[in-house]
Amino acid sequence: MYQALACVTDNKKIAENIHLIEFEAPSIANVIAPGQFLNLRVNDNLFPLLRRPFSICDVNNDRISVMFNVMGEGTKILSQKKLNDYVDILGPLGNGFNLTFNEKKTVIISGGLGAAPFPYLTKELLNRDKEIITIVGGRSSQDIIKHGLTNLFITTEDGSEGLKGNVIDCLKDINNLLFETQYRVFTCGPNGMIKAIKKYFADNKIVVEASVESAMACGFGICQGCPIEHVQSEDTYKLICKDGPVFNLNDIII
């Protein structure tokens, strides 16, 4: 883990309300893995007080990037950062996706801004010669993020783009492409979607790794602010920031 004062090297809008900001942060770039996250201090003031957590979106040599939408004050300030501004970043934090597995085929399921961790994961999976199918879901075509993703199957609730329905409908629809072989699933998105995916894969035959969120104060295990129920420990909560944010979906109770 490092605390880096990172220089902004790019900050652009890639779609309506979707921003991509890039920093020069070699100490972090050299060690961060897909699914890990960063805790950003958006300014030097005491408002907003807490850092804001963001998934690592991509890594290019010494540069790291974050994909975000403007939700409130913190992300608004981040969207206004200029080239050569500095941002205080803690990272890499948490545990990322498991990249050592035997299955040849992988399915990435992304809901809305849940796409954020997947450009880097996609890159690393392709480096390992994995095949990827990416299902991208949203309410309407405005929510569909394709940046950095490959082999896309799109689904929208209102049918404005791709299959009309949700990611589960889409999974069923492409089932023939998976040839009933073993494959591995990676997912990130709204809680409702993650719950539906958990139900769909409840028979436990397929490993599903999910990146989950919660409010966080510290991001590295000292505040106990980010608990999640875990099957391996009935008497304690796991911490999303330290034990996650990526969990085997069958292990967590959401």
Binding site: L50, R51, I222
Partner: protein
């Protein structure tokens, strides 16, 4: 730079400097050590320990508020036994004061916790949390009741000859009354303050933002309140004070000392900048040099009204 004396002498405890890290904001010390050098810090106060492990409250446990945050962690901790087995050992490699914060649901349980922990040599002292606002049993109920604070102080004092501080609640009419009781029953210091009870609602769902409904407010937002409590204790009770509440920049440390604190604790700011304590130390020395102060302790209670 070394010509300034930053050390602090409290009854039964000498600190190399007045900056401690507050309970609940450093876990058991291990994680924050990745970002800061604990050897340079005056001391570390552990997360509240209870006799049996506690799972803590269901999420959502925290929410940010203007220059502050509400938390209702619910004293999630590994329990005294596990602490002694797997956590305290980490500090054997560090030269900094280790203070165990203890929380319990009865006076007898406080006594039992302190008794068990007291035999561990590495532990330099205790902070008795009679002021947690987030648990149903004990906590704030004790901190609000003079007779119980008296009894808990008396029992725990009997169980240890090490440093003993009572951590007071600001959610009372006169905090100095509790400080006087702590003094009478033999406590070495009082820590002030714990968090203030607060809440926040989501205006669309009309539900509280944290599951516990109310939580403890901490951070810069509470600093003026904490300072006033320290001042009240200083003026009305004769006991060393460890000042806590919203300290976020080095100037805040000085301000608390002037108001009457012998030492201070950093809480919420550790989440924002885990290296804060060390950053402040250089500035404290610099301040003393420019203000021609030989020993930082001279500042304690040095206000003129």
């Amino acid at each position: 730079m070394s010509s300034v004396d930053l050390s602090v002498k409290l009854p039964n405890l000498t600190l190399k400097n007045p900056i401690l890290l507050a309970s609940g904001t450093v876990g058991y010390g291990q994680e924050i050590a990745e970002f800061t050098d604990l050897n340079k810090i005056g001391g570390v106060v552990t997360k509240s320990l209870s006799l049996k492990p506690r799972k803590g409250n269901a999420p959502q446990r925290i929410v940010e508020t203007p220059t502050g945050m509400l938390n209702a962690i619910g004293l999630a901790n590994v329990g005294v036994e596990e602490y002694l087995k797997s956590k305290v050992g980490f500090f054997k490699n560090y030269d900094t004061a280790l203070i165990c914060n203890v929380a319990a649901s009865s006076p007898e349980e406080y006594l039992e916790c302190v008794r068990l922990l007291d035999s561990e040599e590495r532990i330099d002292g205790f902070e008795i949390n009679v002021s947690c606002p987030n648990v149903k049993d004990g906590g704030l109920e004790f901190g609000n009741n003079p007779a119980l604070v008296s009894k808990i102080t008396n029992l725990t004092r009997g169980a240890t000859s090490k440093f003993l501080a009572i951590k007071l609640s600001p959610n009372v009419a006169r905090i100095s009354e509790f400080a006087r009781i702590a003094k009478e029953e033999g406590a070495d210091a009082v820590s002030a303050i714990n968090t203030l009870v607060g809440t926040a609602f989501d205006i669309y769902s009309r539900r509280p933002k944290i599951k516990n409904v109310t939580g403890g407010l901490s951070g810069p937002a509470i600093r003026p309140v904490a300072l006033a409590k320290v001042l009240e204790i200083r003026k009305n009770a004769d006991i060393p004070i460890i000042g806590i509440g919203g300290i976020s920049v080095w100037q805040d440390v000085i301000e608390f000392m002037i108001a009457g604190a012998s030492a201070v604790q950093l809480g919420t700011i550790n989440f924002v900048n885990p290296g804060s304590a060390i950053n402040f130390l250089d500035n404290l020395t610099e301040y003393c040099l420019t203000q021609k102060i030989n020993s930082l302790s001279e500042l304690t209670g040095s206000f003129t009204l």
